[in-house]
């Protein structure tokens, strides 16, 4: 048997081989000198499992909420680092509380609300032509997301991490809450 490729070994580590190839590698692990050590070295250089909690639909696949993003402007000039999100929400949704997230590595990070004081219903925000406006600091972000938490769902920011967002995360993953992700316009970064 000639050299077994690293790619095949990684496919084995992923559990992605078909049964004949899997049996072949298992035999080789018993019979071929040095193969276990190679496998161990590959395992040691494997990417770590990402610590991610939120699962947000990709841009273009909103769930129950649509929105647009545009660069913020001041006196007609683009205001670097800020994005205006226009949420298409109807009157029945105005009691919901918006939660804004930005992409941070492999996960999402809540950037609003961060304190109990910041938990506000949509009706407290500026509204124009049937759309609600959110101004978001996007100086670090390439992608943002908005989740609407209805008033009958708990949103308790006094809880410690990770319980604070656990219920919202589970509801989003189950597809129970309106959510939309948007790419930050390049001019707003």
């Amino acid at each position: 048997m000639k050299t077994i490729s690293d790619r095949l070994l990684r496919q084995y580590l992923a559990g992605a081989l078909e049964p004949p190839a899997q049996e072949r590698i298992e035999r080789a692990l018993r019979d071929v000198d040095g193969l276990r050590e190679r496998m161990a070295a590959l395992l040691a250089t494997s990417l770590p499992e990402p610590r991610a909690s939120w699962v947000i639909p990709p841009p273009g696949a909103p769930r129950g909420l649509t929105a647009t993003a545009e660069p913020a402007a001041f006196m007609g000039e683009p205001e670097a680092g800020w994005t205006v999100l226009w949420l298409d929400v109807d009157d029945a949704q105005l009691d919901a509380r918006p939660v804004v997230l930005e992409r941070a590595g492999a996960d999402w990070e809540v950037v609003f609300p961060l304190t109990e004081d910041e938990v506000v219903p949509l009706r407290a925000l500026h509204r124009e032509g049937g759309r609600t406006r959110l101004d978001v600091d996007t100086s670090r972000a390439r992608r943002v997301a908005v989740v609407l938490v209805p008033s009958d769902r708990p949103l308790d920011l006094t809880l410690p991490d990770p319980e604070r967002w656990a219920a919202v995360i589970a509801s989003v993953q189950a597809g129970e809450l309106p959510v939309v992700a948007l790419a930050v316009p390049p001019e707003a970064r």
Binding site: K2, R7, R10, A14, S46, V55, P57, A106, A174
Partner: protein, 437 residues
Amino acid sequence: MLDAAAAPVPARPGESDAVALSRLSAIGARLAEAREAWARAAYPAQPADERVAAMWRATGRGAQGSFAHQGAWQQLLARPVVAAFRQALSTRPLPPHVRDRALGDLRDTLFYQLVGGQGFAELAAFTLETAPGGPVAPLFDVLSERSRSRAARCVSARGHWPQTLALALPAAGATERALLVQADPRDPEDWIELHCALRLLASWAESPGDDDRDWSIVTQNQGRSRGRLRALAASEPAAALAERVAALPALAERTRAAARRWAWSWAWEALATDFAFDLDRPVVRPCVAEAGVAALEAEELEIVETWLLLVILRGRGDTVRRWAAEGRGDSDGTWGRLLLELPADLREADGGLARVRAALAAGWDARVASVAPVLRRVAGLSEGRALKRAFWDVVGPAWHVAVAHPRAGFPTFVRNARDWVARGSETGGPLPPGGEA
């Protein structure tokens, strides 16, 4: 079914017909062993099986049915799918922010790839392969008459299949052969094995190869044929697929095993497209019966990368770049011999290399980045008596057996690798002035 071929077995140079027959027989035994391995694969029953069967049945009711189990699908599949991506991404020297973005996007996209694109149908096909009698028969059983007709048209017109059919089903033209093969009662897996054997014989006429290369040719052809069959199965109505899958025992483990294999293919697609995660792009490639350049499978890309490595080591990196972009190579024997190093199965039926060129042109940066770490290590080798061994220590794990091992020229390889690295060519960026051959 091999008897049907009944053609004289072309011995490799230096081998008798008897030796060649014996090698063919060994391949047959290995194929039988592979079928047994599929039959031996264990999928332990789990408490979640009934729930997973209900989730599969719901996919038959369309997106609404699937969304009702969104969280459960995410819980069932996120871990195996992310694990497959982690390993696939670990083969490439990607910057940490790119890897993080890719893995994050993957988690976000997973369910939408399943529900929005062809995902659930593709996953169903991979899951059906684990059924008793698999991998081929359960996929074939789910095909409608229309799909069987499409399969017959594909094998009567695409790639090297017409040659296989011509041997077993003498008939005048593609249409007649398509009708005959559709009515043929033989096991489709037997057809695939006959095709693999004939491709192997064809390869012996071109180069001697060895046992590993023989098996690689067989598994490539088998994999490609099964991939096309999977794509056909995935085109069946969602309800029909869902019912078939939901009837399988031990469904939680079967679904996870299938998800890992599906995700492995998806990961290589994602790597080739810079993690665009296009929901409309199928992971399983259908047979395109019409004219056109079909994309390469993941393993075929691996072969092309090995060949690219060989070409650069032979000092023709600039030539291959030009050839990929413009179709112009060098008009000398070295370049001609390098083209002949590409396995016959990457060629079109007319001997052309349109698929290879298209794959290199479309993904030049990715292909070059893939071979760059090996080239850098080769560039760092010391010339001397131990060079050949050191070379294979570095290159061996990345070398696909479908490309013949070079036997000489190792000091030149090191010099060419140094030149390639020194010019920054591994970045895929523009060549320095005078760099074009």
